[in-house]
């Protein structure tokens, strides 16, 4: 299958386009989607699918979320577009109390087959209400799948899986990586949830990460390699389910683990990775394990302040060296 080099935003556009062509029950609802969405991720959908399947909604997040659920219960497959992750706070009841619970509470009768798209992350000095990374909250929530891709191909393949999934999928578009380019196949195959991607192989240290910080991790790994430290770099791609086996196998080999997350370190998903690895391998097999993330402060607006709290390749290199010394 011949591929094409496209941006990440175009990759997810193509993935949704392919699935909407394949399955007439797939549709999208959210603010400004008829105009192509905030990032152009639904560009040209309206002319092809019409206003019944490309629904530009009022600014009504709770109903966008709740109506998506209701429409799933009668057999459609809605893509619920939240525009920017932070606005999901306006639809938390519908997501947490309704979507995530309905199948279980009703003894398996309900099929909440929705995809909730929540472009997240630090994005061009957008300040504290447009920059949050709270993906760990949702790993804590039974009933949902949590998807956090970092490349065009992964974002496309995982979005296809998300749309076909009967489980509710929380899809975190890495909005800062929308311009990133990469190969995407003409026919986008689904990528299974819970399978990590090995970005780079090495025997000295395991670097685990996900979402928009991956390019910084890769850069750091290259710097480390130049200094003679060979890192296994693992992109988890999905946080629930997540590829415990791949991470444990790597740490068995290297004995050293650094989890890099863009989100606040405290009670983040990195804590889950570190504790799972230590539980599964036993403390004796893990020589050093660390997390690197943001300090527990909101994301500030001013460029130097934002830069100061962001995870950078230099900070990753420093943390990796600390793990090597540990």
């Amino acid at each position: 299958m011949s591929g094409q080099s496209v941006t990440l935003v175009e990759a997810v556009r193509l993935a949704a386009l392919q699935e909407m062509r394949r399955d007439p029950t797939v549709w999208v609802l959210g603010e400004d989607v008829a105009r192509g969405g905030l990032y152009g991720q639904y560009k040209d959908f309206l002319p092809e699918f019409g206003p019944e399947r490309v629904v530009s909604t009022p600014i009504s997040e709770s109903v966008i979320m709740g109506a998506g659920l209701g429409a799933a219960l009668v057999g459609t497959r809605p893509i619920i577009e939240m525009r920017i992750f932070d606005f999901v706070m306006c639809a938390m009841d519908e997501l947490v109390n309704q979507i995530a619970k309905i199948r279980y509470m009703f003894g398996g009768q309900a099929k909440p087959s929705v995809v909730v798209r929540m472009p997240h992350g630090i994005w061009r000095n957008s300040a504290a209400q447009h920059s949050q990374m709270l993906e760990a909250w949702f790993v804590h929530l039974p009933g949902v799948i949590v998807v956090t891709p970092s490349t065009p191909a992964d974002a496309a393949g995982l979005l296809v899986s998300a749309i076909r999934s009967d489980d509710p999928v929380l899809f975190f578009d890495p909005k800062n990586l929308f311009p990133l380019t990469g190969e995407v196949a003409q026919v986008i195959e689904p990528i299974p949830f819970g399978k990590a991607r090995t970005v780079r192989e090495g025997r000295d240290l395991t670097l685990v990460s996900w979402s928009a910080i991956l390019p910084a991790v890769e850069q750091a790994a290259a710097t480390l390699a130049a200094e003679g430290i060979a890192a296994d770099v693992i992109d988890l791609r999905t946080l629930w389910p997540w590829d415990e086996a791949a991470v444990c196998a790597s740490v068995e080999k290297t004995g050293r683990l650094l989890v890099v997350q863009e989100a606040v370190t405290a009670a983040g998903f990195g804590a889950e990775v570190v504790s799972t690895v230590i539980e599964r391998l036993g403390p004796a097999r893990v020589k050093a394990a660390r997390r690197l993330g943001a300090p527990r402060i909101p994301v500030p607006f001013s460029p130097p302040l934002e830069d100061a709290v962001k995870v950078t390749p230099a900070k990753i290199v420093a943390a990796a060296k600390a793990v090597m010394a540990g």
């Binding site: 603010e31 504290a128 447009h130 300090p295 909101p298 500030p300 001013s302």
Partner: protein
Amino acid sequence: MQSTHNVQRLLDLFGTMCRIRAFETAALNAHKEGVVPGPLHVSIGQEGVATGVCLNLATEDRITSNHRGHGHAIAKGAGVQGMMRELFGRDGGHCRGKGGSMHIADFSVGMLGANGVVSGGIPIAVGAAQGLKMMRSSAIAVCFFGDGAINRGPFLEGLNWAALYQLPVLFICEDNGVSAFTATDTVTAGPGVMARAEALGVPGVSVDGNDVMAVDEAAARLVAEVRAGKGPRLLHARTFRITGHTSTDAAAWRDPASVEEAKTRDPIDRLAVVLAERGIAAADLDAVRKAAREEMDAAVADAKAAPWPQEAIAYEDVQDVGAVAYSGVSA
């Protein structure tokens, strides 16, 4: 436009509108120059609403605003140097560089903050009114929001609440007909904000928001009623957003004719005509506009020259107990 206003009042309205226009224009240019980071929402064309309302308020009255809040802040008396420094992310900004344009605030003049979340300011204004009433204050709360905000739950919940507890709050629906990139009437059912407010027990008045004298008159009446303890009121001000949603949005989907037509109803130009009829020389009005531009150019020059905030500031103002300390090395 017929007016019963005295000339000094008209000049005050004119001066404030010119200052808002000059601030927005300077900010927009600075953003284009690349020195204002992040998203920027300006209110060019809508100055009559902020001005006509806020010139009826006292300093101790409180306002909440939305993402398009520069004009509200200026009309309420916020210092423009601190505002411009905030937009630039510099030291000495009202929010210490941590908020930026979308979170502009100046509590010292009762401006309780712009908001990055549509309708986020509505419950806050309602609560401010409740607190003021509880403390037997004569101050009131005023809440600015857009036409897009009336489709979110907090609008219904907030108006019901304000009416239920008969709170001293004035709601201002600044109706520019657009919700980001979508015409609001294509996503709004029923007869609109006035009918919704009335159904919730909040009496309202609808005015041409580009007629600052009409806004001023209506606001004066509504503020007096709210202050007298008669309960919440709503002012619906119809206006027009000349520019795009953000500084980077060309709003190309709009009919260019509608924009040209709206420019003929520019609130500043319209008031200039009235002032001329009332005997104010064109040169005097030009001097007001020029002074406003110079004030804002000076604010830009000051902001450009201002230092960046120290890294440690990022770690301050989080919480009293349990805050993480700045170690000198971030993260």
